[in-house]
Structures are given as structure tokens and as C-alpha cells.
Amino acid sequence: MTDRDALLEALRAIVARVAGPTRAPAGDMSAETPLTEGGWWLDSVELLEVIVACETEFGITFEPARDLLDDALRTLGTLAAVIQTKNPELSRA
């Protein structure tokens, strides 16, 4: 398992905890699974909870104007990519 796979798995666990047991996406989950509509169906407040949990889990601090806009919160993979830029330890593939 690569560091990226481990990161994605840790991230999936965080998202699953915030989303609760009834909202796991149908079918295979991948880095392309949307965090919002059509995937985990997280709303903006739940995304905040994910963001804060990521800070604790991965020892990072987000800069909202740079890290949390555009597509950063689109999928597990895009969020993982942002986390990797914040913590070089997680960047090794």
C-alpha cells in the first residue's frame, strides 16, 4: 500500500465517520468518489467537520483562501492532494 493509498483510506474513514452509517456511497469507493452530491452527500457544515478532523489527523493547518476553494473539496482524491501539499511526509507515492 502506498502512502497515497494509506492517506485515502484514512481520509475515507474520516468522511465515513462524519457522514454516518447511512450515507456510504453505493458501489465501489475510489479517489473519484464525490464528497458531496452523487457520492457522500456531505453538506458544507459536514465538510467543515471533515476539514477540522483532517487537521487533527494529519497535523496540518489549512489556508482557506488557498486550500479550500475551487475543486479542493470535490472528491476524496482532490482533498487528499491538498493534504499532501500541506504535509510533505504524506507526499511519497
Binding site: 458531496t36 453538506d43 458544507s44 457544515v45 459536514e46 465538510l47 467543515l48 467537520e49 476539514i51 477540522v52 489549512f62 482557506p64 483562501a65 479550500l68 476553494l69 475551487d70 473539496l73
Partner: protein, 275 residues
């Protein structure tokens, strides 16, 4: 038309706009029907009269939002009264001022005019209307990074994150309980349809420990009254039990407000989407 009304001495423009909104309801049957249905649910003696009043208040709301005829902050400041101000000044560090879509628009601006350092979380279109504000208002009306969520849901996580940072840094924020964003956490039963309270403020409280102070505002004649309530109690450590206690308090406050000032509730009467 707003420009013409703005040129009139306050509160003539506001009064005229209120009248125009009331008159417009009579040529928009759907709006009027909805207002009458809502007014009837309030068990008003004269539902038609209440329906007309609530439509008129919608016009007054727009006038207050655009500060029609109020050409300097001092003009509005003179009409403000704060009750329970000690609850706000008694809080050291971060605090969440919990607003509701009831009464005239927003408590952030009045509190700022009274020299409280508060920031609005969410959205308002002040930047879009920057050209509207006079030089005297512009420094106060500038949008900040907590109020630029617009109607773009992708901006909300970043805005909420910044709100959390603000609270952790000891700042005070104003946030709507009955926002359109976030999942439902509780429902206030009201005659005519429930008020849905969403999760943003509660999650910010959970993430920061900041006290939550419900704030209401209403018009008494020309005066705008702001009522700041004591912080919601935090004796219950269990989050579910705490929310139950808070639900009872919030329900009591909202029901009391709607009962006393039904004509100042255009959002529940005319705007909310009920299931």
C-alpha cells in the same frame, strides 16, 4: 425607483416602499393568498389585515436593507436600542450571536454602529451594491471574507472554516440559525409552518466551545430594538441532551417573537419553503 425613494427624507422612502409592497400584493394573488393563509394560521382576528401588514413589512425590510433615506450611520444609530447588551459585553473571547430571519434585516450592522466588533457569517450582497452606498456608509458596508459565501455552496466550507478561526481567535460572529445551508438539527413548530434550524452555528459551537447568544430584533415605531439573550446554558455535557435543552429555549424565544410581532415575520409568511 429605489434611487428616487432614497432621495426622500427618512422615513418617507421606507414608508412609501412599505405601502408599495402592500399594494403590490393585491396584484400578485399568489403572494397575497399565501400571506392570508399564513395570517389565518396565526389566529389573527383579522387575517387580511395581518396579511397586508406582513407584505408591507417586507417592503420595510427591503428599505432597511438598502438604508433608504438613511444617509449617514449616525441617523440609524440614533434609532437603535439594545436590550441585554450586558450579555454580549460579559462574554470574554469568542461568541456566536444566533440570528433568525425575523424582523428587520440583520443585527450585525446595528451592533457595528454601536461599536461592537462583530462579523456576519454567510452571505450578503453588499459588495454587489457597493456603488449604492454613500461615502459615509461605504467603510461600514464593505463585505468581509466571512460574508462572501454568495449563493455558491462551494464557498461555504471555507467561510465556515474562517468563522471557526475567528471564534478561536476570540472574535464574535453573527450567524443565521434558519440558514439555507447545512443539515437540519431542529425544527421550531410555528403556526403556518415550521422554522427549520440548521447545523452551521451548532457545529461552530461544538468545534470551538464559543457560547451561543440568541439575538432578535424588531421595530417599535421608528426605533429598532435588538434583544440579546443570555448564552444558551452549557451545563449538560452530553451533546444530544444539550441540544434538547437548547431546542426548548429556542422554540420558546421564536414562538414568543412570532406571537408578539407577527407582522414583522415576512420570511415565514412569504419566503420560507414549507414541505
Amino acid at each position: 425607483m429605489l434611487i428616487a425613494l432614497d432621495s426622500l427624507p427618512w422615513p418617507w422612502g421606507e414608508d412609501l416602499l412599505a405601502f408599495l409592497f402592500m399594494a403590490a400584493a393585491f396584484v400578485r394573488p399568489r403572494r397575497l393568498r399565501r400571506a392570508v393563509t399564513w395570517a389565518s394560521a396565526q389566529r389573527a382576528d383579522r387575517p387580511w389585515r395581518l396579511a397586508a401588514a406582513v407584505c408591507a413589512f417586507r417592503g420595510r425590510w427591503v428599505a432597511r436593507w438598502r438604508l433608504l433615506g438613511l444617509h449617514s450611520p449616525e441617523q440609524l444609530r440614533r434609532s437603535l436600542v439594545v436590550e441585554g447588551e450586558e450579555h454580549l459585553t460579559g462574554v470574554e473571547g469568542g461568541a456566536i450571536l444566533l440570528e433568525f430571519h425575523l424582523g428587520p434585516p440583520g443585527v450585525e450592522l446595528p451592533l457595528k454602529l454601536l461599536r461592537h466588533q462583530v462579523r456576519h457569517v454567510g452571505w450578503h450582497d453588499r459588495s454587489a451594491a457597493a456603488g449604492w452606498w454613500s461615502d459615509a456608509w461605504r467603510p461600514i458596508m464593505v463585505s468581509d471574507e466571512l460574508s462572501d459565501a454568495a449563493r455558491d455552496p462551494r464557498k461555504w466550507p471555507a467561510v465556515l472554516y474562517k468563522a471557526r478561526q475567528t471564534l478561536l481567535d476570540g472574535g464574535k460572529i453573527c450567524i443565521m440559525a434558519d440558514s439555507e445551508e447545512g443539515h437540519e438539527v431542529l425544527r421550531v413548530p410555528l403556526p403556518g409552518g415550521p422554522m427549520v434550524i440548521r447545523a452551521g452555528w451548532l457545529t461552530l459551537h461544538r468545534l470551538t466551545g464559543a457560547p451561543v447568544l440568541p439575538v432578535f430584533t424588531h421595530l417599535r415605531g421608528r426605533r429598532q430594538i435588538l434583544t440579546i439573550h443570555p448564552p444558551l446554558p452549557t451545563r449538560e455535557s452530553d451533546p444530544a441532551r444539550r441540544l434538547e435543552v437548547w431546542r426548548d429555549i429556542i422554540t420558546s424565544l421564536v414562538v414568543d417573537y412570532v406571537g408578539r410581532f407577527p407582522e414583522q415575520c415576512p420570511m415565514p409568511a412569504l419566503v420560507y419553503h414549507y414541505d
